[in-house]
Amino acid sequence: MKPVRKQRLAVVLFVLVGAGATAGLVMSAMQENINLFYEPAKVVNGEAPLGTVIRAGGMVVDGSVVHDDTGLGVRFTLTDYAGHDFDVVYNGILPSLFREGQGILVTGRLDDDRVFAAAEVLAKHDENYMPPELEGIAGHQSATE
């Protein structure tokens, strides 16, 4: 084989092998479940580590929000609507989007009783933007989905 051809072959082989390996790794990475926060099920089942700073998330259970006397301390329950609930205690100002039924991310530590002591509470906004009068319709939509 001519040297030029040989080099071209080397380039093509190199790129093919490299691209194949990359594609394979990306595919298998996609199959991994990515958890940038612990869902309620993992917190309940004990998959979330105790005592270290972690991030967890879930929906605020209706009627679970209890403010203490100072007005800053709050205790609420997060759920995945599939039977997994855990309690969160927090001392600070809640974001304006915080309400019952809202998706919430909390950063903090799980204590030995599996109560989450949050240092930060963040409200996760969804992609739906609705004026107040359409709220009923939106609820109807998500119920039918």
Binding site: P49, T52, I54
Partner: protein, 222 residues
């Protein structure tokens, strides 16, 4: 593979002949770790769980320091012109140079990283993962940084300009590398991050040498 071996051997030889230059990134890494340790000495547990992330950032900068000069001498003495003309295939020559560069900077930092994690965090939690992610991540940094170094070769300006150019490409590597290390330190699972780091590595091994070759050719068009 002749071009790869020729460049790898020569750059290692040149590094051995100028040991103080070659050790610069390692010295930077050690000094930065020590200073950071002194700075955080008043904290109860040093940097605690952030130690792994801090070590990653310092390793990234040590890598940038090393890759900044990877083509400088070749531009100055004219061997770069000769490489562009004679080294075939060009991507193999580029890979050889970068492999040598990583062996002189990335590898020693990798070896020292568990010690750095311990010094900064007062615990070896996640130290193994730091080593593993540095092994997967710092060659990617070298490859991506080399694109920037090639683009700025012969402009007489490196340093901050290179940092600005390559930081966008360094960020994902840092995110996944430090993320996996921190997760492992906290007892979590890092399979996803490791797979992504692997994909970034193979992807940049495949594509970066060609971009570097093109950028070097542009730098010599005068």
């Amino acid at each position: 593979m002749r071009a790869f071996a020729a460049l790898f051997q020569r750059d290692l030889l040149v590094a051995l002949r100028r040991p103080t230059d070659a050790a610069n990134p390692l010295v930077f890494f050690v000094l930065a770790v020590l200073l950071l340790g002194v700075g955080a000495a008043s904290a109860e547990k040093g940097l605690g769980g952030s130690a792994a992330g801090a070590v990653w950032v310092l390793a990234l900068f040590a890598n940038l320091l090393a890759v900044e000069g990877v083509f400088r001498r070749d531009v100055e003495d004219g061997t770069l012109e000769q490489l562009l003309i004679h080294a075939r295939p060009r991507f193999a020559a580029v890979l050889g140079k970068l492999a040598a560069n990583w062996s002189c900077a990335g590898l020693p930092v990798l070896v020292l990283s568990p010690l750095a994690v311990y010094v900064l965090g007062h615990s070896t939690a996640g130290a193994g993962m730091v080593m593993l992610t540095l092994l997967l991540g710092t060659p990617t940094l070298t490859l991506l940084g080399a694109i920037g170094a090639a683009l700025t070769a012969g402009t007489g300006r490196g340093g901050l300009l290179l940092a600005v150019l390559v930081m966008p490409f360094y960020l994902p590597v840092l995110i996944f590398g430090a993320g996996a290390s921190t997760a492992a330190g906290a007892g979590g699972d890092a399979a996803f991050e490791l797979l992504v780091l692997g994909a970034l590595l193979t992807g940049s091994i495949t594509a970066a040498p060609f971009a570097v070759g093109k950028a070097l050719a542009i730098s010599q068009e005068y």
